[in-house]
Amino acid sequence: MEQKHLVTVWKLGNNINTDLLYPSKYLYESQEPAVLASHVLEPIYPDFQRMITPGDFVVAGENFGCGSSREQAVTALKYAGCGGIIAKSYSRIFFRNCIAHGISAIVCPEAVDAVEEGDKICVDGENGKIYVGDQVYTFSGFGDYVGSILKSGGLIPFLHKRMKNC
């Protein structure tokens, strides 16, 4: 079997709101990627940016990203090096922010239940598979239109291509 690219899991619970992901007090201050990365998950994981290795995955329970619509909740994770997210379910605006920024917000409750913090997993986005030890879990795609946005790397490159083709 070919070598799989393994990433570490950072496990969060249910109802992780966007004030925890990116506190209000920083929302209207510097938007530099390094600043956003430094404050991600600060109320519950003050050193998250230093702990995470680029490419690691955040794995969360139900209703991930609930509350305010701030897109910094997604971009701060991205700039901190988060390679992707697997959750049991998402709050809808957070999900939309993930797609808009080219992040596949994967839904796979079985994989979430199967992993513990620090576990190594492999995520095969192309084929919709998550490898946890010797178990394989599958997840659904995003549909044609949303899938195209993700394939383009997010809404900005997707629309930029459309504008050029007009």
Partner: protein, 421 residues
């Protein structure tokens, strides 16, 4: 089989004869609502390569979260918005101090029954109270809308909440809303359109509390049928009540139906750190001292909330070492409250007036909390660290509960002060 409000309004806009929950549609919203996010929206609009706004008259921009700016970064962001507006005319622009977006775009008539409204703010759902489909979206998506006028959307399933009975005079729409959040939980309405039925007893102020709070249960949008109460408000504030209402069919299919007897509602408080942690106030147990009381926000900063606070505090004074902050939801509401004497009453009672806007709700300014402090607010969000220190605590409650608490210095059941007369 009949159709829900969401199915009907989205079908009509998309041009499809018939839709069902889960269907993927491209929608052209009637109103695009943005706040300070418009600074980044305008930059992305240019990054995409867009030059002209296809539907500028649909766009409303309000600077309300940092109002006025309290840092150079915020001021620069506002400057970006104003520079964009020098080159692009839009439907409405409200600069700092005018009020909160959801209030202003209803007062100016942009938002009304039968419209589809999207906003780069999670409380966009508030104006569903007018019988409009109102959904929060991402600010990058808002830039896409500025450039193209269209956005993808899935048709939501619907939840129906039927009201019956009469609300006791010591309870309020905010207590009803907290009760509903307690029933639904933080994800109980995720992706759903929530329809309130038999809501005719509520004023427009109250209907907006009921819809606003549903953001905290994950709802996509909400609905209250427009009626004579809606028409009277629209005529008073916008000069007219011309619209084509879209109404759900009586035999529409719902994912869940909730019956709520209003006569059983009592004062409620959502305890830290979730809006869905709603409990009857008598279940709080021990006395909870407060440091800051706040009547304001897009949830609870309307004329009726200020009127209630004034009634409670008339001739009395804020407790020692307690701040009572009043944040009117708009300049119109402030002016009406001044004419009716409420502001003088509250100032005489020791309250602090802040400019119309979001105020301290988002922990940016005008009442940030220190470690260990406790705030009781007529807003809706009480997440950990939301209003300042992660070691502060926020309770959300009705305007009456907040005002009573300001007088006593601890979270107080309105029935206690009503007994005293």
């Amino acid at each position: 089989m009949g159709k829900t409000f969401a199915e009907k309004i989205l079908a009509k806009n998309s041009g499809k004869p018939d839709v069902k929950p889960g269907d993927f549609l491209m929608i052209r919203p009637d109103v695009l609502l943005t706040d300070e996010a418009s600074a980044r929206v305008s930059e992305i609009f240019q990054e995409i390569g867009a030059k002209e706004l296809p539907c500028p008259e649909n766009i409303g921009i309000v600077l309300d979260h940092c109002s006025p700016a309290c840092s150079q970064t915020q001021a620069t962001s506002h400057d970006t918005v104003r520079k964009f507006l020098h080159n692009h005319k839009v439907g409405a622009f409200f600069d700092v101090g005018m009020g909160i977006s959801h209030q202003l775009l209803a007062e100016n008539g942009m938002i009304g029954p039968g419209k589809i409204v999207v906003g780069s703010d999670s409380h966009t759902i508030t104006n569903s109270a007018f019988g409009a489909f109102c959904a929060g979206i991402s600010r990058t998506e808002m830039a896409g809308l500025y450039a193209t006028g269209e956005i993808w959307m899935m048709v939501p399933g619907s939840i129906r909440i039927n009201f019956s009975g009469k609300l006791p005079d010591y309870a309020s729409a905010k207590d009803v809303a907290l009760c509903i959040l307690g029933i639904l939980g933080e994800a109980g309405a995720t992706y759903k359109s929530v329809e309130y039925h038999n809501a005719g007893c509520f004023s427009m102020d109250e209907r907006r509390i009921l819809c606003n709070a549903l953001a905290e249960a994950g709802a996509k949008s909400a609905f209250i049928a427009p009626d004579a109460v809606t028409d009277a408000w629209l005529k008073q504030y916008t000069g007219k009540a011309d619209y084509s209402a879209i109404l759900p069919d009586e035999d529409a299919c719902y994912d869940r139906v909730i019956e709520l007897d209003l006569s059983l509602v009592t004062p409620e408080v959502a305890v830290p750190h979730s809006p869905a942690n709603a409990v009857p106030i008598e279940d709080l147990g021990e006395k909870i001292p407060v440091n800051q009381c706040f009547v304001g926000t897009c949830t609870g900063g309307r004329l009726s909330d200020i009127a209630t606070a004034a009634r409670v505090m008339q001739g009395k004074h804020v407790a020692p070492f307690v701040r009572m902050i009043i944040g009117p939801v708009s300049k119109n509401v402030l002016e009406e409250a001044m004419e009716l004497g409420y502001i003088k009453t509250l100032l005489d009672a020791g309250a602090v007036l802040i400019p119309p806007g979001c105020g301290p709700c988002a922990g940016v300014h005008q009442g940030v909390l220190a470690p260990g402090e406790v705030c009781v607010s007529s807003g809706i969000r009480n997440y950990k660290g939301r209003m300042g220190s992660v070691d502060a605590k926020i309770y959300v409650a009705s305007a009456e509960t907040v005002a009573c608490s300001a007088l006593t210095g601890y979270i107080t059941d309105p029935r206690e002060l009503r007994k005293e007369g």
